[in-house]
């Protein structure tokens, strides 16, 4: 069967994934290079009874999607670096108040207004540490247009299951690049909805700390009449200054993600069994890495590839296993920034493994030839 084959760009793929994932609310503010996502959803959402709203800025956009999610709609916004900077206030709120939300960051060059139409991966650490306070971020990064569809759905699923904001990190090239894609068949991608309470209203605690750290989520209007705040709160949502309750809340927020790393974290490896050198890269750079590794293999060099799909949180244990591969001598970390994920790799490799940075931040992509040269250098 030929399936539904289309030539679409990454930003269209986000919209496609959002519709498959059951999106019913999008609040956004125009910004290059993410704007197509808003434009497509403005057209498509009302056709299925969903809501699109263009807000007055990115702070309002993230506020609106949090409100809509609390009212029961699967909600999303899309932006790029400067807008993401404004959204981190709301992302921190969504984390604290445990509101499922998806934030798409189509990365462009920074800092500041930087390079609106050029590719970058320089918001990698911002996706992890953007908002103030301790928190555990979830961020996913696709490498192709088709994977953008899949990971958009997955981002929505993770947001619903773990009641937390999830960032989808794409970039300007992936967002605007067109690729031939076979759209998923109906039912091909798993779609997960949030767990609703089945207890009477008088028993319900919106932020209940359960043995598995997952708490069912009622919506405003369901008859449960709960309180939501960004202040540190007890299980009912009321602000607290009691250290026992503060510790319980903040520990729950951490555990509800860190205890489920096996479910949340996806890492792809190739040829690591006998690799002397590994190339570690995510997103669009992983495409170049793949080609470089193939070229190296063709020259009988023992090179492997590591591709984080879940960028945050880091599955330390899994990475340590991968980096302990018996012949491994060096890891090349290729990034479109001045070196961000390289710190994560340095933290996790065994002492004898050398970590080499390959960075590019002149607005162009890292090429397979550049990576191949680096492989030859370290070998």
């Amino acid at each position: 069967m030929a399936g539904n084959v289309r030539l679409i760009q990454g930003n269209e793929a986000v919209a496609e994934g959002a519709m498959i994932g059951g999106l019913r609310f999008f609040g956004g503010y125009p910004i290059t290079p993410s704007t197509e996502i808003a434009e497509i959803l403005a057209r498509r959402l009302p056709k299925v009874g969903g809501k699109f709203i263009q807000m007055e800025d990115e702070i309002a956009s993230v506020g609106a999607i949090i409100g809509a999610s609390l009212a029961g709609s699967k909600s999303m916004t899309a932006t790029s670096g400067p807008g993401f900077s404004l959204m981190v206030e709301g992302i921190g709120y969504a984390y604290m108040a445990e509101v499922p939300t998806v934030i798409v960051n189509v990365q462009r060059g920074g800092p500041s207004t930087g390079l609106p139409t050029k590719v970058s991966q320089s918001d990698t650490m911002q996706a992890r540490w953007g908002t103030h306070g301790d928190y555990i971020a979830i961020a996913l990064a696709p490498q192709s247009v088709r994977e953008t569809i899949d990971l958009t759905v997955r981002a929505m699923n993770l947001a619903e299951v773990y009641r937390t904001p999830v960032t989808l990190l794409t970039d300007e090239v992936l967002g605007h690049m067109r690729e031939k894609v076979t759209l998923p068949e109906e039912g091909e991608l798993e779609v997960i909805n949030r767990q609703k309470p089945d207890v009477p209203a008088s028993w319900y605690k919106h932020f209940e700390i359960t043995p598995n750290f997952k708490s069912p989520m009622a919506s405003f209007g369901d008859g449960y009449r709960f309180h939501v705040t960004g202040l540190t709160h007890d299980e009912e949502g009321f602000p607290t200054n009691k250290s026992v309750e503060i510790l319980a809340k903040l520990t729950k927020l951490r555990n509800k993600i860190m205890r489920y790393l096996d479910d949340i974290c996806q890492i792809e490896t190739d040829g690591m069994e006998d690799a002397h050198v590994a190339v570690y890269a995510y997103g669009i750079v992983a495409r170049a890495a793949r080609q470089a590794v193939q070229m190296a293999r063709a020259r009988r060099m023992k090179v492997g590839q590591i591709r984080p799909i879940t960028i945050w949180p880091s599955h330390d244990k899994k990475y340590k296993e991968i980096f302990s591969s018996k012949n491994l001598e060096a890891v090349i970390v290729a990034e479109l920034n001045q070196g961000q994920l390289v710190y994560e790799v340095q933290r996790l490799v065994p002492k004898h493994v050398e970590v080499v940075s390959l960075n590019r931040f002149d607005s162009e992509l890292i090429t397979p030839a550049q990576i191949l040269n680096k492989i030859k250098e370290v070998r």
Binding site: F25, K47, M55, G63, A68, S75, Y93, F220, G221, V228
Partner: protein, 275 residues
Amino acid sequence: MAQRSDITHKYLRAKKKFPNVWCAGCGIGIVMGSLIRAIDKLELDRDNVTLVSGIGCSSRLPVYLDFNTLHTTHGRALAFATGVKLANPKMHVIVITGDGDALAIGGNHFIHSARRNMDITCILINNMIYGMTGGQFSPTTPTDSYASTAPYGNKEYPFDIPKLAEAAGATYVARGTVYHVTQLDQLIYDGIKKRGFSLIEAFSNCHTYFGRLNRLGDSVKMLEDMKRNALPLKAAAKMPPEKVQGKLLTGVFCDIEREEYCDRYDALIQSLQGK
């Protein structure tokens, strides 16, 4: 009075949340009473009422009431409220905010919410100062008044809240005070009933900071000043301008009809779905 208290108590999270954070004599509690009586009189299903607030003394109000309550970040109450309302248009969404929250950090959301005309009732409790952080000047602090960050008098000019709201597109704009409670009950009642963006300025006293720093006396003295200084719009219309100068005008500034946002969006959905 006993009957009024009975009504109030029906809606309080009495066992969970009291005592409250407000200073003795604060006007915010009076606004809370007016809000409760307005909701009660409208016989709204409390499951379909969501109170949304930002940060500050006034924004602590929702936590005491047994509705769906959402205490957001500073200035963003209207943005969150927009999401709640559009996602569930059946919901009665009421925003409780203050002069700093709505007009300084939230000024952008304020004017755009008025322009968009979603059916949200915004109760702006104006005490002309930042109370929670200790008495800094706000966008409504009168020129030359004192505040902790205006030790030599405020060099700025204040917003005229009703004019701002009306110019931005609000369909219902009114001002009451915490002294004139019966009127405030009515203004909030009418504001909630109005299908469109409503703004009710509830003029209130912060004797703890604004009163103390400007030597205006205690809560009772400030309420007496409110009584003396307030002038109904209708009476003002018949008076010479020099007598209106410096008065606090109260009443309904604007009450117009404009199709509401969610209604317009629902009509769009209906037409796209061919219904």
